[in-house]
């Protein structure tokens, strides 16, 4: 009874927050509702006995993906009037996509059937004496290892692509070169000097100031001590 109540509570909040994600005027509120939706989905996973998936959903989607979403949305300066402008033009296009998705959903509910093997698996998602994590591990790493690795490779390629597209070596930016800093010698040293004596008196000359060595261009090393 308690499980059923919890299910309906999670499901109701999940659907309500999903609706709010689409309808909220403020994009930051929309992302926050998305996070609430993720949480309730995790709750549904817990009721279904999939504790591992529930935790991973929270860690990956709420803890990492949604943070980046929020990060980007907060920094955007969104002009609502400008967003509304193209509405008339794009509305038919959006309606077509929405219609296709609706038909697909309808077909999934009416026509689509589970394979007989999957149907028996669905009745008993957790084999006897095996934890969630182990059961998932057996499927991913034993039964479908090649497909899993292929998925990983595709993600890797996508990641490298994103880095290549965004990484530009702009001229004129200053970077810290730690190896150059550590390996340089001569200009930095620690010496024990008698208290109260000036540097000149004990024979230590300060390094020449940049003005004296001009016009040679000065090489910049950030964070160096003089």
């Amino acid at each position: 009874m308690i499980a059923a109540l919890a299910f309906y509570a999670f499901a109701a909040i999940l659907i309500a927050s999903a609706v709010m994600v689409v309808t909220a005027r403020n994009p930051v509120h929309a992302v926050l509702f998305l996070i609430l939706a993720f949480f309730n989905a995790a709750g549904l996973f817990l009721i279904a006995g999939a504790e591992f998936l529930a935790m991973i959903l929270v860690i990956v989607y709420v803890g990492a993906v949604a943070v980046l979403f929020l990060f980007v949305v907060m920094m955007l300066d969104i002009d609502f009037a400008q967003l509304r402008e193209g509405f008339q033009r794009y509305a038919p296009f959006g309606a077509v996509i929405g219609g296709i998705l609706l038909i697909e959903l309808f077909m999934a509910v009416t026509v689509w059937r589970f394979a007989p093997e999957a149907a028996t698996l669905r009745l008993n998602p957790n084999p006897e004496g095996v934890t969630n994590a182990e059961a998932l591990g057996r499927i991913l790493y034993t039964d479908y290892i090649y497909l899993f690795q292929a998925a990983g490779l595709i993600l890797l390629v996508a990641m490298i692509g994103a880095i290549v597209l965004t990484l530009r070596d702009r001229p004129g930016t200053r970077r810290q070169d730690i190896a150059a800093q550590v390996s340089r010698s001569g200009s930095v040293s620690v010496r024990r000097v008698p208290l109260g004596a000036g540097l000149k008196e004990i024979g230590i000359e300060r390094p020449p100031s940049p003005e004296e060595t001009a016009p040679k261009p000065i090489e910049h090393h950030h964070g160096g001590h003089h």
């Binding site: 996070i35 990492a64 929020l70």
Partner: protein, 336 residues
């Protein structure tokens, strides 16, 4: 009595009592952690620290708490009122929520769940929301800059923390926190996995926004970072949340690497001492190191912080994970 413990209401009451038995000492611990921090910092800087309120200044935390309660809660104009007040509550709530799965002794956890370590990781990865929502809802540039820094920092260091946790899990073969401590019966993981312990500890410093990674509140450039606009109890909740998080991270370090409630050596004078005492002592040790680090190191520059997280810790922890897996596989020590 049996009937009481099997009835749903009885279980509910029992859980509430257990939660209070854990949270009340925790909150007192948070109060005295602020005192301990001021005293230890003072000793390290040849000062006296708080010494006026009560004997040795022992009532100072309560004086501070009463002062906080008396102040006016100010909500800036242009702030998003609801989120502004929600953020500190979220921070504090998350800091308390995580304690549900911490085993203080063998079998002394409120919820001894199968995926305990994942639950802790999930809760600690949510901590960033309190900061980022506070920064945005304040509608102030300093707060927002602090929040952005914090979000980037916490997400970056979570990655290497994840790899450290996976390495420990490889040696245990279970996601249950009690099992993790039991696996350290012979040798604490701090010895075979010492480099991972160092990485984990430094990452927890970054995760809790403590010095030398306290850029989100860097007072010399951002006034007070993400909580500039907060006053009174809403500020106090952030403050309490931060210190409760420090204790939580110390507890996590203790469970993962320092053998939880286990005594250092399982012989006569050591195993007379009850487990929770060892647990608290180890947490206190970690907290002392937290404060010691604060008194010793200057704040990192932002690019250095990112470099350390992504270019040093991440490759190193990944390499050590592969190494650990290889050693466990080749020697046949891999737990079933």
């Amino acid at each position: 009595m049996d009937f009481f413990f099997n009835h749903p209401l009885g279980i509910l009451i029992l859980t509430v009592v257990k939660a209070l038995a854990l949270l009340v000492p925790l909150l007192i611990g948070v109060a005295y952690l602020t005192y301990a921090e001021r005293k230890v910092l003072a000793a390290m800087q040849l000062r006296k620290g708080p010494n006026v309120v009560g004997p040795f200044g022992l009532f100072q935390p309560f004086a501070d708490a009463i002062k906080m309660l008396m102040k006016e809660t100010i909500v800036p104009t242009g702030a998003n009122r609801l989120l502004f007040l929600f953020a500190p509550m979220l921070t504090f709530m998350l800091a308390m929520l995580a304690w549900a799965v911490i085993p203080v002794n063998d079998g002394w956890a409120i919820a001894d769940i199968n995926v305990g370590i994942l639950y802790l990781f999930a809760i600690s990865s949510l901590g960033v929301y309190g900061v980022i929502i506070a920064g945005w809802a304040s509608n102030s540039k300093y707060a927002f800059l602090g929040a952005l820094r914090s979000a980037a920092q916490m997400v970056s260091y979570e990655v290497s923390m994840g790899f450290v946790i996976v390495t420990v899990l490889l040696c245990v073969g279970s996601l249950n926190l009690t099992e993790i401590v039991r696996a350290q019966q012979n040798v604490w993981f701090v010895i075979p996995l010492f480099p991972m312990f160092v990485i984990f500890f430094i990452s927890t410093l970054a995760e809790t926004n403590r010095a030398p990674f306290d850029l989100p509140e860097g007072e010399s450039e951002l006034v007070a970072g993400f909580f500039v606009e907060y006053s009174s109890m809403s500020f106090a909740l952030f403050f309490l949340g931060e210190y409760a998080n420090m204790i939580l991270m110390s507890a996590l370090t203790t469970i993962l690497f320092l053998g939880g409630w286990l005594p250092p050596i399982d012989i006569a004078p050591f195993n007379w001492v009850p487990g929770p005492v060892w647990f608290v002592l180890k947490i206190c040790f970690c907290l002392f190191v937290f404060i010691w680090v604060r008194a010793t190191f200057p704040r990192y520059r932002y690019d250095q912080l990112m470099r350390l997280g992504w270019k040093v810790f991440l490759p190193f922890s990944l390499a050590w994970l592969v190494l650990t897996a290889a050693v466990l596989k080749l020697t046949g020590w891999l737990p079933a």
